[in-house]
Structure formats: C-alpha cells, structure tokens
Symmetry: C2
Amino acid sequence: MKPFENLVTLSKEIARLSSMSSLLHWDQETYMPPKGIEERGLQLALLAEMIHKRQTSPTYQKFLKILTRSKKLTLNEKVCLREWNRDLEKNTLLPTSFVKEFSKVTSQAIHAWSRAKKEDDFATFSPYLKKIIALVRQKAKYLKYKNHPYDALIDFHEPGMTTEKLDEIFSAINISLQALLKTLKNHPEDSFLYQPMPLPRQQELGHLLIDLLPIDKSLFRLDESAHPFSLGLHPQDIRITTRILPNSFTSNLFAILHECGHAFYEMGLVQKYYGTPLGETLSLGIHESQSRWWETKIGKSKAFWQFFYPYVQKAFPEALRNISLDAFYAAIHVVKPSHIRIEADEVTYSLHIMLRYELEKDLLTRKLDVEELPDAWREKSRTLLGITPSTDREGCLQDIHWSMGELGYFPTYVLGNLYASHFFCRFEKDFPQWEHKIANGDLSFIRSWLQRHIHKWGKKYSPEELAKKVTGKPLSEAAYVLYLQEKYSKVYHV
Amino acid sequence: MKPFENLVTLSKEIARLSSMSSLLHWDQETYMPPKGIEERGLQLALLAEMIHKRQTSPTYQKFLKILTRSKKLTLNEKVCLREWNRDLEKNTLLPTSFVKEFSKVTSQAIHAWSRAKKEDDFATFSPYLKKIIALVRQKAKYLKYKNHPYDALIDFHEPGMTTEKLDEIFSAINISLQALLKTLKNHPEDSFLYQPMPLPRQQELGHLLIDLLPIDKSLFRLDESAHPFSLGLHPQDIRITTRILPNSFTSNLFAILHECGHAFYEMGLVQKYYGTPLGETLSLGIHESQSRWWETKIGKSKAFWQFFYPYVQKAFPEALRNISLDAFYAAIHVVKPSHIRIEADEVTYSLHIMLRYELEKDLLTRKLDVEELPDAWREKSRTLLGITPSTDREGCLQDIHWSMGELGYFPTYVLGNLYASHFFCRFEKDFPQWEHKIANGDLSFIRSWLQRHIHKWGKKYSPEELAKKVTGKPLSEAAYVLYLQEKYSKVYHV
C-alpha cells in the first residue's frame, strides 16, 4: 500500500472510534440509565486515549512524513495531507501529562460548577475556575500563537480566525445592534406563544415537521434530551434531539430546525470520503451557520410560516385559532434583552457572546482575576444588554463551557450567524423566488443548494476560502447586520 | 504495580471495550437508523479486533506467566488466574487468519440464510453452510478435544460439559418427555390468549410488571426489538428488550420475565469485581437458568398469577373478564408439539434442542452431508416431536445460529432448564412458604436468594461445582423431569 492509502486506513479507524464515542455520548443524553454515568465516563476516557494514541502513533507519523516529502500528490491528497499535519501538530503540541491533568481538573470542575450553579454559590466554583484559567493559559502557550493567546484557542475551533478579526467584527456588530435595539420598543403581542401545550401534541408536531423537511428517515432519528443536540455518527447515521417545554411550544420547533441544519451538514458530506478530512465538517462556525440557516434564515422567514403555520394552528387550536399568520410571525420576532443566552432572541444573542468573549480575553491576559468575575459579568451585562443579573446563576455561572475548559468556543456561535447571512446573499441570487417556493412547501432545493455549495467540500477549503468561493467576497458582518436591521425594522414598523 | 494488579487493569480495559460492543449491539437492535447497519458492522469488527489484540498481547501474556509462577496467591487471585489462562488458551489456539476467515464466511452466510429463509430455498444457503461446517470442524481441531469434536464446541460455552454427559442427559429426558407427552391429550381451552390486545396497553402492562419486580430502575431499561434480549453493559447499566405481538399478549409478559432473569444475574454480580472473572457470569447454561427461573419456575407458578392475574384482567377486561385464574393458569400450560422452537411450550422445548444437537453432531462427524440436512431434519422432527414440517423455513432454515457458525450453543438452552430445576430444590427447602409469599406480591426474596447462591460468585466455581454447592448434589435431569411430570399431570388431570 502507498503511504496515502495507509493513512486513509488509519484515519478511518480513528473516525470509527470517534463515531463510537459519539454513540456513547448520544446514549448518555437519551436513554442511558442514570447510574450508568460513572462507568460511561471511564469508557469515554478509554476511547479518547485510544484515539489520541492512534493520532500520534509512530506509524502514523512515519507515513505522514513520507507523504509530506512526496511531490506527486493529487489535489485531494494535498488537502488530506494539510489537515492531517495540522491535526498532528495540535495533537502533539499538548503533552500527554497535560491532557490528563486538563481532563482531571475539568471533570471535577464540571461537578463543582453544576453544584455551584444550583446553589448560586460562585465561591465554591472559583478555585476550580482558577485552576482551569491557569491551564488554559498554559494550553495557549503549548499550542503557540503570534499575537494574542486567545488566537490559539479560537484557531482550534475555527481555523484561520484571529482575535484581531474577532475584535473588529464584534465591535462593528455591537455598534449596529445597539442602534437597532434602541428603535425596537413597541413589542408585538406574544403571550399566546407561552400557553401550555400537551407534550404528546408537541411530539407529534415535531415529527410532522421532520416529515415535511427533506430528510431520508432511514438514516436519521429524533429523540428528546435535556439540551437539544445533533450528532453525525457517519453520513448514514445522523441523530438529533429536541427539548419539549410545556409552556413554550415554539422552542421544540426551532430546536428541531436548528439541529436539522447540523444534521443536513453531516448527511451532505460525501460518503466515499468518510474518515478523511474531505469527508469531515469544516469548522464549528460553519457547522453553526448550517443550524442557524435553518433556524433563522428559513425558520424565521414569513414564507416558512405561510407553509407551516396552518399545521401549527391545527395542532393547537385552543391558543391559535384567532391568531393570524402576521400576528404569529411578529410574535416570534419579539426582541427583549434577557439574562439567559440560550433563550435570547436573534438580535441580542450576539451581545451575550461578546460579553463572554471579552471576559475570556481578560481572564486569559490577567486583566481580570477569577474573584472579580461576578462583578465584571454584571458590568458587561449592563453595558452590552442594558440589564444586570441579580444572581450569578443568571450571570457567570450560567454556562457549562468554562467548567469544561472551553474558552474560545463561544465566538463560533456568532460566526455561525455571520456565515449564514453571508452565504444567504448568494442563495437569494440563485433563487430570487425562494420565498415563493418555501411558501409552497418546497424545502428540498435549499438542502441541495447547501450540499452543493458547502457540505460536499468537507475540509477542502478553509472557512475563509469557502466564504469567498460561495459569494465572491470575504466574510464580514455586513450581511448579518443588514439582515437584522431590515427584518426587525419591518416587524417593529420603524 | 504487582502482576495481578496489572492484569486487573488490562482485564478491565477489555471489559470496557466489550461493554462498548454491547452498547453498539443494543443500539443496532433498538434505535439505530436502518442505513447505519453497514458501518456498524465495521465498528463492531474493529472493536472485536482491538479486544482480541489485548486478550493476546505480549504484555498480557508476560504478566500472566509471572502470576502463574507465583506461589503466594489468594483464593480470588487463583480464580482469576485460572480463568485468564483458560481465556488466553482459547484466544491463542485460534490463529488470527482463521478468526478472520470465520468472521468473513459467517457474515456472508447470515445474509444468505436470511434470504434463503425468506424464500424457503435451502439450496442457496447450502454452499455457505458447507463452508461453515468445514470451518467449525477445523475450529474444534484448533480448540483441541479428547473424545468428540463436539466437546470442544460445548466447552466453549459451558466449561466442563461434554458430549458424553449431554448424550446421557438428553436420552433420559427424551424417554421421560415422550412418556409424559402421550398423557397430555385433553388440552385446556386457551383461545382467549390469542385475542388482539392494543399495543399501548401491552406496553403499559409490561412496564407495570417491571414496576412490581424487584428492580432498581436507575440502572435498568426496557425497550422493544424484533427478538427479545438482555445485555449487561456493567452492573450499573442493564438493558432488556421485549417483543409485543398484537395477538398473543402473554408473549410480552413471559419475554419480560425471561429477560429480567438474565438482567438480575448481571445486576447481582459484585461491582467491585467488575472487569475480572470474579465479576463475570459463569456460563451460558447458568445464565439461561436465571432467565428460565423467572420465566417458568416463577412466571408459570400458580402463586405468581394469584398475584399478577388481577392486573392482567384489569388491563384486558374484554377478553379476560369471564376467565377464572384457574382457566388462565391452565391455558398458559397447554402443550402441543409445533414446528417453531421459540414458540414451543415448556414440555416440547427440549425436544427441539435435541433435534438440533443430534444434527449438529452428525454434521460435525460427517455422518450427515449438508445436502441431506432438510430430510434429516424432517426425519428427526417426526421421531422427536411427532410432526413433520412442510417447509425448510419451519425446518432446517428456522434458526440463525448455524449461519453464525454457532454449533454447540443450543444445548445450553436445555442446560438452563436443568440448572433452574436443580437450584429450585434448594430454594424450596429454604422457603417452604415461597408460594404464599409470591401470591402476596413479595418477589424480592427470590432475587436475594439467587444473588446469594449464584450471582455473587461470578466465575469463582465451575458450573459443576456451583450445582453441587447449592444443592449438595451434582447436576442431573431428575429435578427438571420431575417438575414437568408433576406440574403437567396436575394441569391435564392425568
């Protein structure tokens, strides 16, 4: 076998082990009996160790060296080589002892965070967070960076992205959103969205939505879990979950649209490339662009509800019989700053991310001590959202990410919105009649378009290159800001 | 670390990988999207390879050699050493190339069998079965045996069992059962058992049964699958499935009792020994004794239905309102020879196994050619059951086992019945009032007794030793035959 074929074999084995790890996670969140948790943690740790061993094995490195020296590579082989080398670098820069320590500290910290959040007691979490911040600083050093330690963290999830670019993007978004927010004062009526709807009816409605989406059900499933998520085990086995809230029935529907966006991406990968970089999703930001596309670009379009609202009305006549499509559409666009990120509306969502981004940078560069975090959070919340949380539970204890050592992750949520709006410019040009098609229940052309322009490429291009390839222009916040301004000015009649 | 501790670490890692393999199987049978099947096969093959590598690794063998030479071993260490050496022998006797070939041939044969059964076309399966029989003969040679090649196969599943002992047992059972069968002619009325019962009500009734059994639900789940099964991922995560037939509601209830018997065994293993032979179930026969215990000894006792029949009547009043407990009890004991093993009654079940056992031996020793199998099946069926199947689908294509290369497996089903009756002699002595307790809904004392006398020992004793330890007597068919004779004579008033 040639070195490339050998590497593909090894790479596929790693993909298969990761796929098992995904199944173990899926099971943990859906059906695992609660007492299985401790042993599940040990199983996942064992898999992680086996994966890391393979990713850094002498055989793997040997073949990679041979391939790197080779001069007769096809374009696809070059792509794989680039990504394999990039992964190897990331995987070897972190010493095994560090990875173990990191995993030990964060697994304790997650428990501490969970308790601290429950009891709104930051003091008990603070010592863990201190350790984590120290470890993350060390991690950034190991991973190397040119200008800012945060660069090393963000590049991990979004190759090519830098703190400098993020600063620029976030600052521009902030100015525009603050201006927009000031104009959105006369809120449409939306109380009818929060009437109790029986769970079985919500489940049925969710499955009906799935039936209307362009999904091959023989490679897909929908389940329920505490937090919605999606997992692609491989292109022939994709699973999503939703969460059903008794008093907020749209939550289930938007969760399904969001997770289906992720699922379409996984389904759209080219199967013959499974287990190689050409068959892998590109970045967290691009992944999030696909979920936000279906949740907001499609799922919050008037056209979609022209098609789907009658089904919802039929499922929930008690609450919606006298609510017009226009009234419903306005209600799902109410913008009100609130404390909880995952419940935030489309306009204020990015502000929640900026808050975290700025605190992360300050913690990393020692501008901020962990003890000062609760106050700093309140201050940033006041500045960015105009409101101050009265508890740390709604403040700096809100998200699990920091307890997992995941700094540099939050910005990918905003990047997802940016990419979605950026790609949408081209989509609108290709399908000027897109709203008409959707209003008539045609959704498959959207999935085909995304597959053709984004999914099928795997990791062939960098996120930056892909952004340019699709629209001809580099990524910026312009399309996203314009989308929010136009849409919300219209809904709010300003 | 001492060699024993090292071996425990390695053994636990193997157990963890096997546990993942179990989860992958569970998922495949319950929730996996159908198109996931091909990749799932590759995942399972990868896991099997990783497990086999660890079971035969030089490090593992080195520590085992050191431990074998050691003279200061505790009793528990000696048990582990014995079992580890036994496993190593089995795992190293089969060359890797043979294991791969076996796996390749059987995975093709399973598909061929499935098609052949569907189309009732033995000729298309026959070439595969020929290959399999040749491979199984070779397997027996590799595994070594003293007297009969079948010894090597049965010992694999039931350590210490031999063809000679099986011949003796089966011959005695056959004589007694044939005599008993002749007397069971006036069948009780049982048509009311086969009225359609809505699936949701059957599901509810199944969960109610689970609620009444002594099960900690935080480490257990019940799902549905095409064929009922149970899987212990580890003592804190045990899963069973049932199958719900629209026109035979007792099928679901007996499946649950059967699988819960397996589940109790897995739950009853001592957790601190997880991953070592002391925390493993003893043999297939002993495992089956636990399922048959709950399905037949308890689940077909009058006492159990005194307790549970009112619930069933309440769930299914249309069919059972006018059916007395006695009539119901008689109906679930109707004995009629039929073609399908898994639908057979308690009395004829063993005859189905003998049929297969004798054909397996003849195939193995070349007394029988694969081409002659359909005729031989019909002939044996006539002799043993008094009926002749009109299709191979109901004959030699009935079971999946041979296509999987699993010869030597069927007898463990009968051994399970034998062990169950054997153990029950002691149980009756310990609890002369057992029927009274059960009739009052007390079932937990049964599980405790089984845990104390069987589950907690893991692989400490051989099946033979355990049989003697519990009752003071070696295993024989006596208790089983007596149980059937007494019970069915009573039900049939003969």
